[in-house]
């Protein structure tokens, strides 16, 4: 493991990201608006008011979901 990245699982795929990300900054780096997605971190749903404080850690499993067309 190199020191300048951390490894997470993001929407089912392994991904290397910069250390020091909060959920808020991660969404920004992915060009996603916080109001349009729901975040599940290690199987727990995160409230939107905690995105700014919640640090992304090595080994985290993150799911970013939203509404799509369906019946």
């Amino acid at each position: 493991m190199s020191a300048d990245t951390i490894h997470v699982r993001l929407n089912g795929k392994p991904r290397e990201i910069q250390p020091g990300h909060t959920v808020h900054s991660l969404l920004e780096s992915l060009d996603l608006r916080a109001g349009m997605v729901v975040v599940e971190l290690n199987l727990e749903i995160l409230g939107r008011d905690s995105y700014a404080e919640c640090q992304v850690q090595e080994g985290d499993t993150i799911e970013l979901v939203h509404f799509v067309g369906g019946g």
């Binding site: 929407n11 992915l30 599940e40 970013l64 979901v65 939203h66 509404f67 799509v68 019946g71």
Partner: protein
């Protein structure tokens, strides 16, 4: 709102509103947002249907951005009541997870609970549906449960706290219409919560026949999205739902396999 035929009918005192979980709807048609060729046609079709409630699915964001798939880029949640579904779930646990994610989006407490038991027929797993319905109702969700046309399951779902029970007319996406009108009528007769027929309607006559069974509403998606002209079909469905509803309320004449003249048989010339 002139687009909404049901609202027009209601204004003339011919039908009342549909109340689900404490919310009143003037339209008895609920539509899905899946499988449309493009979003402009989808929005035009949704508006033509006169619906006030639309279903949406919960899925992972496509981080590769091959296309803009977020439905809320097209659908204004202030214009339509969003009913998130748990489509694609095969266990109570998964359906509960999807419902919680949907609620966290912050629109409402309603969920269209769907737990599939078989990939070929897409028939519901009624045991898992019941289990999820209990858990979600206890958590304060307003559960509208997709189920088969079995009376006992429908009664159990009502007991579990569902705000609406949604038996299928026929399998999802089949367009076969109501295959078992007797059971649909029996479910409607026995339940107190609204009965919405969900899945299987293929064309306007199917929607009309379904409403003539006395149910409170119909939910459809493929019948509109897969029509050659979805917008025109949505207009047809809007009329069909109103027609079937009013025919039910009006009470049909007895059917008999014998002709009865409509004009007087007396007073004929010699």
């Amino acid at each position: 709102m002139t687009q909404n035929a049901t609202a027009t009918e209601s204004a003339h005192g011919l039908d009342g509103p549909l109340e689900i979980g404490g919310i009143e709807f003037m339209s008895r048609l609920i539509v899905g947002t899946g499988k449309y060729a493009d979003n402009e046609v989808m929005m035009e079709a949704i508006r033509a249907s006169g619906t006030e409630m639309v279903t949406v699915a919960v899925r992972r964001v496509d981080l590769d951005r091959s296309k803009e798939e977020a439905i809320l880029h097209h659908l204004d949640p202030d214009e339509f009541f969003l009913l998130a579904n748990t489509a694609g779930c095969y266990s109570a646990e998964d359906a509960i997870r999807y419902a919680r994610l949907a609620r966290a989006a912050g629109f409402n407490e309603f969920v269209k609970l769907e737990v599939i038991g078989d990939e070929t027929t897409l028939l519901p797993d009624v045991h898992a549906t019941l289990e999820a319905a209990k858990t979600l109702s206890d958590e304060g969700f307003k559960v509208m449960a997709y189920t088969n046309d079995d009376l006992i399951t429908a009664l159990r779902l009502e007991d579990a706290g569902c705000v609406a029970v949604m038996p299928l007319a026929s399998p999802i996406g089949s367009g076969l219409g109501v295959v078992n009108p007797y059971f649909i009528r029996e479910i409607k007769r026995r339940l107190e919560v609204p009965v919405i027929v969900d899945a299987g309607v293929g064309t306007a006559s199917d929607a009309c026949v379904t409403m003539e069974q006395g149910v409170d509403g119909v939910l459809m998606n493929t019948a509109l999205a897969a029509a050659d002209d979805p917008v025109r079909m949505s207009h047809a469905m809007r009329h069909a739902i109103v027609a079937g509803r009013l025919a039910f309320l009006a009470g049909r004449m007895p059917s008999r396999e014998i002709a009865v003249p409509s004009s007087p048989t007396t007073g004929m010339l010699d």
